[in-house]
């Protein structure tokens, strides 16, 4: 008996949920994001959403995005103390979303069950990468690896083969030609440094990082600058994330390539709604929209990979989608391949400051000496 009632309840809820948006639910006519995801991606997503909202509810949504690196975005949200100037935080590492949720600065997403369950809980072995928050505060929107960008023509000029793995950056012929960003300045670079440290162990890992610094010609202010200087040919290679960094350069006509080494970490580009957001309904509608096929297509056409196994990156020859596949070395979906992940985010977050501090002391402060030593 009670089982039946439960079932009926569940059906009712499901019906209400499905009917909700179409009938009763009206969304606010404004939506603001804060995000490290590139303008190229977030502009397109917002534009597509605005059109969707117009078709669905007849509402003209005024959308806006505050572009900020992940740490800056995080810091501003903390600074707003629950009275945020924006509705949604999007992109970067999911650990920061967990931290915000702990501080009660995130609101639960409460997405429709179907959309939620279409996303696998994790990806990768031996360390699984979470694609959605078990507590329900954030959800992944798209996948992409933290890998390497390089300038093929410059590699040719230097007479060395194109890089495939992290170690290729240590080639002595690349001396002065690597661009990098300190882990204090970029959470995505930080994650890649951690991949190295966790892969080779502390002692060898730090030695590796010192050698990399010795090979570097510049420490950029932000990780986003790395693909910019590589695209221009100022430097030959460096760490990067394809969509919100490097693919855009490719589209802008620059001759630049991306490769994800086997142990490269993959981000789910998490998205969450801030507690106290001024436009919670529009925010929720936006998150839901991005998980639909139409939303996912916005990403797939721009160098990102779908968050669910339901879709694959595909397009007519010469399309942006196919360019993206070529750019990232033939990947169409991360769900039809073996994904190796050795990066332990918990470990990384716990010693975040210590790693930064050590990097600052042992590498940044003595950079000139390192260049002479190696």
């Amino acid at each position: 008996m009670s089982g039946r009632w439960k079932l009926l309840g569940a059906v009712l809820v499901a019906v209400l949920m499905a009917a909700g948006p179409a009938a009763a639910q009206q969304i606010e006519d404004e939506l603001v994001l804060i995000t490290p995801v590139s303008k190229f991606i977030h502009d397109a997503a917002l534009k597509e959403f605005a059109q969707y909202a117009k078709e669905k509810w007849g509402i003209t949504v005024k959308t806006n995005a505050l572009a900020a690196g992940t740490p800056v975005a995080y810091g501003r949200i903390v600074e707003w103390k629950g009275k945020p100037e924006v509705d949604i935080f999007w992109g970067g590492e999911s650990a920061l979303f967990d931290k915000l949720a702990e501080q009660k600065l995130m609101a639960k997403l409460e997405l429709p069950k179907e959309a939620w369950e279409a996303i696998p809980a994790t990806i990768g072995k031996p360390k699984p990468i979470f694609l959605k928050d078990p507590k329900g505060f954030w959800v992944g929107t798209a996948l992409e690896p933290y890998g390497l960008v390089y300038h093929p023509r410059l590699f040719q000029r230097l007479g060395i083969p194109e890089p495939k793995d992290w170690d290729d950056l240590l080639n002595p012929k690349l001396k002065g030609n690597v661009a990098q960003c300190a882990p204090t300045r970029s959470s995505s670079s930080h994650a890649t440094y951690e991949v190295i440290l966790q892969q080779s162990g502390d002692e060898k890992g730090w030695e590796w990082l010192k050698r990399l610094a010795a090979n570097s010609g510049i420490f950029t202010a932000r990780s986003r600058d790395v693909p910019s200087v590589v695209a221009k040919g100022e430097f030959a290679a460096g760490f990067a994330v394809p969509s919100y960094m490097a693919f855009e350069e490719r589209l802008a006509g620059f001759d630049i390539k991306f490769v994800a080494p086997k142990t490269a970490w993959i981000t789910p580009e998490p998205m969450g709604i801030l507690a106290g957001a001024k436009h919670p309904k529009a925010a929720r509608a936006f998150v839901e929209f991005l998980l639909t096929e139409r939303g996912q297509r916005v990403f797939m056409e721009r160098g990102l990979f779908p968050i669910t196994p339901k879709y694959k990156v595909q397009g007519p020859p010469g399309s942006t989608a196919e360019m993206a596949v070529e750019f990232t070395g033939g990947v169409r979906s991360y769900f039809d391949r073996e994904v190796t992940n050795i990066y332990d985010d918990d470990k990384a977050q716990k010693r975040y400051k210590e790693v930064n501090e050590q990097y600052r002391k042992d590498i940044e402060a003595v950079w000139e000496d390192l260049k002479k030593k190696y």
Binding site: S38, P71, G75, H151, A182, A221, K232, G233, Y244, E248
Partner: protein, 572 residues
Amino acid sequence: MAQTSADTVAVAAPTAGPRTSVVALLGFGFIWAFLILFLVYPLTRIFYDAFTNEAGQFTLVNFQEFFTDRFYLRSLWHSILLGVGTVVTTSVIGIVVAFLLIRYEFPFRNLFSYLTLIPIISPPLVGVLGFVFILGRAGTVNVLLMDYFDLLKPINFMYGLHGVLLVETLHLFPMITLNILDALAKVDPSLEEAAESVGARGWRKTWDITLPLTTPGYISGALLVFIWTFADFVTPLVLGVHDLLASQAYLNIVQFVDRRLFRMGIVISALLVLLAIVFLLAARHYVAIKDYSSLAYSKVERRRLGPVKRWLTVGFLGLLMFASFIPHIGVTLAAFGKGWSLTPFPVQYTLAFFERVSVETPKFILNTFLYSGLAVVVCILVGVPMAWVLARTQAPGKDLLDAMTTLILAIPGTAIGIAYIRAFHFPLPGIGVPLTSMWIILPLVLAVRRLPYTVRGSFSSLLLVHKSLEEAAGSVGATKLRTFWDVTLPLVWKGILVGSLFSFMTSIQEASATLFLTLGGWEMIPVGIFTFYIAGSQSEAAALGFILIVVAALSLLVINRVAGTRMGGMFG
């Protein structure tokens, strides 16, 4: 002019004393309220942050940490070194250019005197990028050298302190030139003639007579160059130099995750302000608002140069100008070029970037004109009365008022931006919304930053109008309004216009103060440049930079037409 109307002064009946003084008092109160609310209060707020810990208790630990950290100390040392280095290089170039322009006659002299102003225009960020596009490792020069002269490794012109020095020198030497021009033009030729009559000629004369007379102008220019270099964080960051104070302040603040580093960023900002005040006090005799009463410039006899010297001069100035225009050339090429990499010049050209930053997203340009326009209105509302107080009254606290306007010139923009965030992020009583959530904060901060130019411009022209002229008009029955309209305005509008235009021209280029205060939708061109650059779209950033250069160059052209070379007093 003043003498001819002098005898009417006695006749002029003093008009309605008490009422004027009420109005004057209100105006005076308004000026001070504005300055206290929007300058003094926010600045005290960052000092409060610098001297307290997270719990809000007084502490000196922050400064102890700074002065025991070797990296920070090295940053301080490098900043001072760079500042002094830039003063030396800009002085050598700036003084030579000033002497050439004012003392000698040679072809294209007028053109050069306008062109020397242009380097002051340097759109934030893309200006440096422009240098990198031409002189970087893959810049035009290196590519040409490698392709045609078999150079194996690119020459490192840019990355490192020497690159910062190069950029700052070519950007800032006009500050010295303008101040020296201003001072030189005021040197009474009779003094020099007197020197010659007792046998002092050439270098001797220059050393003993001319230089001492131009010292005040020079010092104020040099101070500005020093502080500007000291506070610039964008140039070093693009060039990969992080061990400078301003860079450290910026980097520590924009990484919000580590609260301790964040506080250190504020501490360094406070230190920058503190040091700026110290330098200002050290040079206070020279940088106070100048006595423009001799604005009627003495006519200088320009010496004609012999053919060889003449063309050497033209060659030198031409080369210098060419070097100074490197950023502008680089920005222009990048704005129109597509996929420009490892070739001397772009191979493909497009207008797509302009379309994207103007037609598709017009907000950058619209916001720039709206906010800068409003800022200029505020500058005029506050600045002109301020200039009037300084020029016409013996009001108490006048010196302090003068000191405040000078202080504004010296305070790093980032420090003001941070101060505003810290000071105005609370719900305003009655509205319930913090000032930081309202776009009006941008015009306000711009107005405060650029107020000194309007004040100085207006001040100089008010001094030109002798009071007796207005009184004469009053004595023949003209009402106050009529007097203002018919007598005062025609005489002072030029100064106010030049001052306001200067405020405008510098407002549209402001990024450091607005960067931290801008919320989505409020982006002006400079912040737009940052946004595009952060998003990795250097070409769009360059397109915005190009628009900025054009608008600023037009403003300067008008300023130059109206004011001639007498702009030096604006800066120092």
